[in-house]
């Protein structure tokens, strides 16, 4: 039943992700036996400590943002509470010249990468669409139209490759976004052009209200990599050590010319989709509670304390840094943003069209009459 047609498969099982997600530190904070021998190496202590610091800051960002929404200082916030390990690792695995392509939910990753936090919130407070210069920290705008940014990431990576730069691009999306046509096109383009891109899917089990089983019946989302001829990997998305190791490996391979890969991080959206959502309509409290035990922060804290890497002083300094961040956010968002309505006409084109000049004049006239 085999044939002489010269169409033997060119790749093979090596593309298949592991049967279970990679985990280095278990939910009790213990080193997973055998995690050192071969495969993925545990990041060193300093790196884990830095990751933990960012986890704590990230959690604080999520909490503070939630509070600011409740106080009416921000219109909407898609919380990444529970997903901090994925987001922190996404920020830490990249070099300065690398690019990050985040979604609306990846605020913690964007801030961990160093983008000025109040600017990050311009989108969500409603004063402009994006409040930071993407070139400054090589962080693209937070994307809302699902999966569309993955193609931009491929383009940035392709351009870098053509220019001979050794930039790597990390592109983020959710489990729901994997169903979009653009996900497919992006992964295929990345594979065919063999660009230095890594795709990280934060599988948080839900796309708003839709659970994963209505999104996909594939063995795993990482298995989608097979169809593009790139490696797929699965990782415990609440184990920051594991995410760092797996992403680090994928980024390094990409940098060395080994091409793109897909990483699926298993995690959970602990809060509603956004403050506007009512999660009780589609999932049970019990389900949510079960994930509490897998919290990415407490696990790292347990591990680092147990390993003697986290002193009480260090813990206090991290807590202070998180409070600093919260204060910066509060101060920034409590101040009213400076709004200039005529700026609406300023960035549509490099050179304003005659039509926009007329329209700006109309608005200016209205505003001046209002003032008068």
């Amino acid at each position: 039943m085999t044939s002489s047609v010269d169409a033997e498969v060119r790749g093979g099982d090596f593309l298949l992700p592991s049967a279970a997600p990679v985990q280095l530190i278990d939910q009790a904070g213990r080193l997973v036996p055998g995690s050192g021998d071969g495969g993925y190496l545990l990041p060193d202590g300093a790196r884990l400590l830095e990751a933990y610091r960012q986890l704590v800051i990230g959690r604080r960002v999520n909490d503070q943002a939630g509070a600011l929404v409740r106080q009416g200082r921000m219109a909407v916030y898609p919380s990444s509470h529970g997903q901090e390990a994925c987001q922190v690792a996404a920020a830490l695995c990249l070099g300065d010249e690398d690019w990050l392509f985040p979604t609306y939910r990846d605020t913690v990753a964007v801030i961990a990468r160093g983008v000025e936090p109040v600017g990050v919130f311009e989108l969500l407070r409603g004063s402009w669409h994006s409040g930071y210069d993407p070139y400054e920290h090589k962080v693209a705008t937070q994307a809302t139209p699902l999966a569309t940014q993955l193609l931009h990431a491929v383009g940035v990576a392709h351009a870098a490759k053509l220019k001979g730069e050794d930039t790597v691009v990390l592109a983020l999306c959710g489990d729901g976004a994997t169903s979009e046509g653009d996900f497919h096109e992006a992964l295929n383009f990345a594979a065919v052009f063999h660009v230095p891109a890594v795709f990280l899917v934060q599988n948080n089990e839900y796309a708003i209200s839709v659970p994963l089983r209505h999104q996909s019946v594939a063995p795993s989302l990482a298995h989608k990599a097979v169809g593009y001829g790139m490696p797929g990997e699965r990782v415990d998305g609440n184990d920051v050590a594991a995410v760092l190791a797996v992403l680090g490996h994928a980024v390094e391979r990409a940098r060395q010319g080994g091409g793109p890969s897909l990483v699926e991080a298993h995690t959970y959206r602990m809060q509603a989709h956004t403050n506007a959502d009512d999660a009780t309509r589609y999932r049970s409290d019990d389900e949510v509670k079960a994930w509490l035990a897998r919290d990415p922060l407490s696990r790292m804290q347990a591990y680092l304390s147990g390993a003697g890497l986290l002193t009480p002083e260090e813990e206090a300094s991290i807590a202070a840094a998180a409070e600093d961040m919260a204060r910066v956010l509060r101060d920034g968002l409590n101040a009213e943003p400076r709004l200039d309505p005529t700026e609406l006409f300023r960035h549509v084109y490099a050179e304003q069209t005659p039509q926009l000049r007329e329209q700006e004049a109309l608005l200016r006239d209205e505003l001046s009459r209002e003032e008068a």
Binding site: S179, G181, I208, S209, R281, P341
Partner: protein
Amino acid sequence: MTAVTEAPAATAGQQLTFAKALTTALADAMEADPRVVVFGEDVGPLGGVFRITDGLTRRFGEERCFDTPLAESGIVGMAVGMAMNGMKPVVEMQFDAFAYPAFEQVVSHVAKMRNRTKGHVSLPMVIRIPYGGGIGGVEHHCDSSEAYYAHTPGLTVLAPATVADAYAMLREAIEYPDPVVFLEPKKLYWSKDTVELDALRAPGEPRIGRAVIAREGTDATLITYGPSMPTALAAADAAAAEGRSLQVVDLRSLVPFDDETVTAAVRSTGRAVVVAEASGFASVASEIVARVQERCFHSLAAPVRRVTGFDIPFPAPKLEKYHLPGVDRILDAVDDLQWED
């Protein structure tokens, strides 16, 4: 006979939101016709992000109202196939800008299938799109996309503005033999009105292709639809206070277009302003201006003016009020209609 214990008479009017009118229309249509199925993103247990499909899965089961994978081209494309095979799909696009991934399916298939097949294959389906601004939504959540659809031959494009029309036009759209793009002004979802549901449920005059005079007036005509309708009415109120009588035409149906009503209205006043949220360039508002000047040229005392969104991407929430047609801007345009002539 103790009147107090009696339920209100079935024909009595009842207060309904625009959103609830739509939900009721969907439920009634599903009740009336087993071929009607509802699907899209989050329309199942959640009831949609605007809760328009609230309760439908519970009441009609998962086979009649269900969530799909997150892919708009997939949703519309699957609806095409289901319509081909005896169903009447009503699909929801979660927001205006998130209907764009389905654009090829809409333009190349939904709009053309009847024509391509010389009428052998018709597509009785409805694409519901919550659309427009005014709700403080972030980017990509406030587009007014009607021009894309209205320009595409083969589509029927509706934009109700009242609670009664929300109900009656959605029912009519579902029963229509051709595909309908049903534009729901998001900012009107929470508007309320007293309507007689039973009267609306009874067979009545068609509304597709029929504009209505939403307010009588003699000095000038405001032509509008969807989210701008209440704004136009408010402008007419304000103008009345200043002694100017403005007529308001609510188009309701962008395609087919009711030339008869619009032309008669403009001829009766001799002056017209078109009001619409969408950016003005090559828009439905442009079309209305073009048609009115073609048909009413000799009745016009002044050029037909437009009050539309600017030709800019929809602004961030805190700036949208500068972009959207408001009462003052409409009154300015009316003032401009060369009254001194």
